[in-house]
Every structure is written in C-alpha cells, then in structure tokens.
C-alpha cells in the first residue's frame, strides 16, 4: 500500500526525482495549457511564433550583417545568425517564463500539493515550439543558400540537450529565487536583453577571444550559454572547433543545474508559506 511519512526532524535534502516522474501527466497538461492559452484570441495565432524570430533575424542581418559587417567567413550572415538564435531564443523563453512561473501559479501552490518543479519544467516544454520553428528556419536557409550542413551534425543532439539543461538550470534557479526575493522579477528581463549581446548569437565568439584580454574572455564564458550557442552553431555549420574556453560554459551549466535542483528543493519546503 502507498505510504507517506513526513517528519520535521529529518534533516537533509533528497531530490525525490521518482515522485517527479509520477507527476508527468501534470507536467504534460500544464504545458498543454500554456500552449493553448498562449495565442488564444489572437488574430494571427501561431504565426506570431514565426513573426517574432523573423523580425529579430532581419534586424540582426541589417545591423550586424550589413552595417557592422561582422566577419562570418564563408557562411552567409542570416544563416550564421539564425543558428545562434535557435538556442538563444529557447533559453530566453524559458528564462522569462520560469522566473515568474511559480508566483503566477500561486493559487495552485497554496491549494494543492505537487512537486513544484513541475511548473518550471512545463515551461521548458512549451519553449520547444519556438525551438522547432527556429530549426525550421535553419533548414530553410540551408536550402536557400545551398549550404551543405557539416558532418559535425552528429553532435547537434548533444548541444541541443545541453541547451535544454542550461535553460532549465537557470530557469530553476530563477523561479526559486523569485519566490524568495521578488527583485528577480526585474532582473530577468534585464538578463535576457543583456545576454543577447553577451552571448555569441549575432557575432562569432572569436571576436571576443581575439579582442579582449584573457581574464575578460574567461568572464565571458562564465555565461552558460556562450559555449552552448557556439557549439550548436559549430555542429550545423562546421568551421573552427569551439574554443577550449567553451568548456568553462559547459561546466557552469552542470554546476548550475545540480545546485539549482537542490536550491529549489530547499525553497520548495517553504514555498506555500512565502509565495
């Protein structure tokens, strides 16, 4: 028979991932709800998910491609940019959504038990739509420019996975932090905006490595997405291997993810009391 023991004297944190698995139906239906509601009563509907990245791509092409004339080697600039945007847009979506996610579902949090991690996780699932649309853009542009994808494509799943984990890591941290300190509600939009330029989305990472001193480059790669975006692009378009610095990013992703899970568990215990 199913048995549950709650003991206030037991110290220590367990992640309870097994329980999370039992709540997978909830995770799926929350994602479904968000998807259904996202474009409800809009005239253009899902088309918005296409228009937004398209507009960004056009602006990037004009600013970085034409005006600044960033050197992207033999890769046409729009193709270069769209490969960076694919993983970045997913990351920024998850960040923006999950930061506020628990506060916006506080009615639920206060009235019923479920592993709270389900909420930010479901936001990560919703973001897949944008990710898929960006991938579609990449395929279209590859055909348009008759650009053969590189053999590194076998690494794409690995970088896509790292992108998801990286987004989740920061998303989980932010959702827990926002509960504790509402200040983070204001930090998130800033992070997203700032990150777009602090990540090699619209320009190659070499520009940073070549033009900045070593310590600044290390600082640059503390951004978990720096390595992910670089690797993601490399696995599609080929060219130079991601720099050794990018391993800093990957390590950061891992550290953030594991620590985020534990911090979230810690905050979860008092979530219903302070939300």
């Amino acid at each position: 028979m199913y048995k549950l023991v709650v003991d206030a004297n037991k110290k220590g944190l367990t992640l309870n991932l097994k329980e999370l698995l039992r709540y997978r139906d909830l995770f799926l239906i929350l994602a479904y709800r968000d998807l259904r509601v996202r474009y409800a009563q809009t005239f253009l509907g899902l088309l918005w998910a296409v228009i937004q990245p398209l507009a960004t791509l056009i602006i990037f092409t004009i600013v970085f491609g034409r005006a600044i004339q960033v050197n992207t080697g033999n890769v046409p600039y729009p193709l270069f940019a769209v490969c960076g945007m694919a993983s970045w847009s997913y990351f920024s979506f998850v960040l923006a959504q999950s930061g506020n996610s628990i506060i916006s579902s506080q009615e639920m949090v206060k009235k019923i038990y479920f592993p709270r991690l389900v909420i930010p996780l479901s936001k990560a699932l919703v973001g897949f739509i944008d990710f898929l649309i960006a991938l579609f853009f990449i395929v279209v542009l590859l055909f348009f420019y008759q650009f053969p994808p590189s053999a590194n494509l076998i690494f794409l799943p690995i970088y896509a996975l790292t992108c998801i984990i990286s987004s989740l890591a920061v998303g989980i941290w932010l959702s827990a932090l926002t509960i504790r300190y509402r200040d983070f509600q204001h930090v998130v939009p800033f992070l997203v905006q700032f990150g777009l330029y602090a990540t090699p989305v619209g320009y190659p990472a070499d520009m940073i490595i070549d033009n900045l001193p070593g310590w600044a480059t290390v600082l640059y790669y503390l951004n978990p997405m720096a390595g992910v975006v670089e690797g993601f692009r490399w696995s599609i378009l080929g060219g130079q291997m991601p720099s050794t610095y990018s391993y800093i990013s990957l390590a950061i992703v891992f550290v953030l993810f594991v620590s985020g899970l534990f911090y979230f568990r810690k905050v979860e215990k008092v979530m219903a009391d302070i939300v």
Partner: protein
C-alpha cells in the same frame, strides 16, 4: 496497528510574523550582514507564532473525521500540513494510502480552456491519472449536468456552472484518504446536497477515510463519525462527532442578545424571551421609505441548523404607523415551544428589495422555561422543539 490510516505525532507549525517584510534581497542581505558583523543579535523584531502545537491523534481507515474550531484555531494549517502543501516545524505524520486534498474546488481552472480541457487539467492537478480521467469522463460530465457546453471556453460559463463542473471532477476522486476544506460553502444548495451525498456514500460504502473541516456544524454532524476540536492551535477534544460538537458548543462564547450597529439606518437589534414568546426588534433611524421596513429572521440551534424563520412578506405587516422616521420594528413569535438552551438568530433588514443589514448568527438567546414541562428541560436528542402532545388510547 494496521488499520490506522493517519497517525500524527507532536505536530507543530511555527510562523514568523513580520518575516515577510524581510523578503526582498536588500533586507535579507542586510540582516545577514549585521548578524555577521555581530550587530543586532536580539534586535530582530520577528515574532514567533505557533499556529499548531503538540498535535497528536490517530485516525482509522474508513473513519470520517470532522475538524472544528473557531477561526484561527489552526484547522486550515493542519489540513495544509496533512495535504503536504506546507511542511511542519516539528513532529511527524504518516498517511497510509493515496491522498487527495480538496482545499478549493476548481484549482487551476483556466478561463480560456473549454470545459473538457479543464476537466483534464483540474483532474490531473487533483492527482488523477490521464487514463483514469478518460475512463470517468462521461460520468463527470453527466454529473455536472453541463453536457451541452462541454466544448465551450469556461469563461463563458456562469459562476454556478463553473462550480458544478469543478465539483463534479472533485466528486469523482477515488483516493483512500480524502482531505476536504470548507469547499462546500459555494454552489447552489441542491448541488451541494448531491455532492455531500456522494461524499457520504463513498466514505461509508468503500471505507474511505475522510477529513473534513467546516464551519457548517450540521454538515459535520451528518457526515462524520468522529470529531477533533481544535482550540488555539492545540487539540482540545477528540471523540465522537456529536460529543465533540457538544464540547465545542459548550466552550464557545455566544454572541450577545443585543447588538448596536454602526449603520445609517439600522442602529440596534435585540432578541429577548418574554414569557413563552420571543421578541426580535430593531431600532431604525432616518427611515425615509414609504414601504414598511423588512425584518426577516432565522432561528438556528446551537449546531447551526436552521429551525425556522419568517419575514413580513410571509406573515403580513401592520402598516398603521407608516411613514415613520425613527422607531422600532419588531416581531413577536408565539407558540414556539423551544426547549431550554442557546439558540442563534440571523437577521436581515431591508426595504423589501435591498438589504441594509445582514447578520448571520449575529444574536443568540438563552431560552429558559418556555415550555411548561418538568421532564425535558434541556435540548435532548428529541430535538429542540417540544410540541404539545396529548396521548390516549382508542379502543377498537
């Protein structure tokens, strides 16, 4: 023992009053810094508050337990701990079996989604599996009685329809332990009855354990066989439902038999026993209406069951003193035959269309020697009203 469904040992929950203020980054950082430097060791103006303390009890499988107590006695906190929404500060508890908690109906309902989608959403939130909902779907829909609108977004529903839909989902939960808060306060009476019936049926027939918190003492008495009376965060009494209710009623402070009201028109209301009659009267001021004032009332027993009530529409009104600016409006009730005991009075005062004043159980009256009978002076299990009865034998 194997048939214990819920066992609670020394449970306690502490809240920090004023803690919430410290929840922005700067304050929290500031206090941490001060603590680090050694400034302000005892200056923290945080007050501890124990919402629950030393709570211990056991509930067997199949028991329906009512938790009663005044506002702030810790009922909701206890439910929130047992349903794992918050964690206890001290103690431990064990639950044997799958738990569903119903602290609200329609948790997670989204207005943009259709009734069908909301059934799945709400059901999943309440802990049902997708397959389980699919299997019960038709039953849920027909129980709610809104088949026609099942594919309409819920935002176009009336509030009654929303409640019915939400209740139907909740009524089809099949956990081994069900934890229910004061959710039955919403919804129309007919539907409430249907849901109470369904809950009753489930707990009695299938051996489900139910924990039920309510201010509706009548519902507790009807549904539960065991009661826990919480007072100031501690268990005051555990026993059978009826004994617990009795204990609760005796230890309760009753409202006065006269209240003064800070209202433009209604200034005071009082109830008093005059020999074998009951007088309810209100003092009105600035009554600038041509129509007679409308005083409706309800008399309730000490458990909150409505006994009877009336209003001028039903029993007529002597209009000879109309119009008036200030004065009393009163009603004299005769032939009541109430047994000795305390009774609640609810009062409404209005112009017949709108209520100026509404006071649910706002007054109480101690009835003494209203009936001339030496043998049944107190309210007994015969009920509060003692009718005039004559007994004889007719030979055939």
């Amino acid at each position: 023992m194997s048939d214990v469904a819920i066992s609670v040992e020394d449970l306690g929950k502490k809240f920090m009053l004023g803690h919430q203020k410290a929840s922005d980054f700067r304050n929290s950082f500031g206090t941490k810094l001060k603590r680090l430097v050694g400034l302000d060791s005892n200056e923290v103006d945080i007050e501890e508050f124990w919402a629950l303390k030393n709570i211990s009890f056991q509930i067997r499988q199949g028991e329906a337990v009512g938790i009663i107590g005044r506002n702030g006695a810790g009922k909701s906190t206890l439910l929130k701990i047992l349903s794992r929404i918050t964690e206890p500060t001290t103690g431990r508890f064990e639950l044997q079996g799958r738990v569903s908690s119903l602290l609200e109906v329609g948790t997670g309902f989204h207005m943009e989604l259709t009734g069908r989608e909301n059934i799945y959403l709400n059901g999943t939130i309440l802990g049902m599996k997708r397959a389980e909902i699919k299997q019960k779907f038709d039953e849920i829909v027909s129980f709610s009685g809104i088949e026609k609108f099942i594919d309409t977004p819920v935002k176009h529903y009336s509030s009654g329809m929303k409640v019915r839909l939400a209740f139907s989902v909740a009524a089809h939960l099949e956990p081994e332990i069900l934890i229910v808060d004061e959710v039955l306060a919403v919804g129309d009476a007919e539907f409430q009855k249907k849901c109470l019936g369904k809950m009753d049926e489930v707990s009695k027939n299938r051996g489900r354990t139910v924990i039920f918190v309510s201010h509706n003492l009548a519902a507790v008495e009807r549904l539960c066989n065991k009661g826990i009376y919480l007072k100031n965060g501690a268990v005051n009494y555990i026993g059978s439902a009826s004994e617990t209710l009795k204990e609760y009623s005796s230890g309760r402070s009753w409202p006065e038999n006269k209240i003064n009201i800070d209202h433009e028109i209604v200034r005071s209301i009082e109830v008093s026993q005059i020999e074998d009659k009951l007088l309810i009267r209100a003092y009105l001021d600035n009554y600038n209406y041509l129509k007679p004032p409308f005083l409706g009332f309800n008399i309730l027993d000490s458990a909150g069951n409505k006994l009877f009530g009336s209003n001028p529409k039903l029993s007529g009104f002597d209009q000879s003193n109309l119009p008036f600016k200030k004065g009393y409006v009163e009603t004299l009730l005769s032939d009541l035959k109430l047994r000795n005991g305390v009774y609640y009075v609810s009062v409404w005062i209005g112009d017949g269309v709108y209520d100026f004043f509404e006071g649910i159980e706002c007054l109480s009256v101690h009835i003494k020697d209203m009936i001339d009978n030496k043998y049944h002076p107190e309210v007994t299990n015969l009920g509060p009203v003692f009718p005039e009865a004559s007994w004889k034998i007719i030979k055939a």
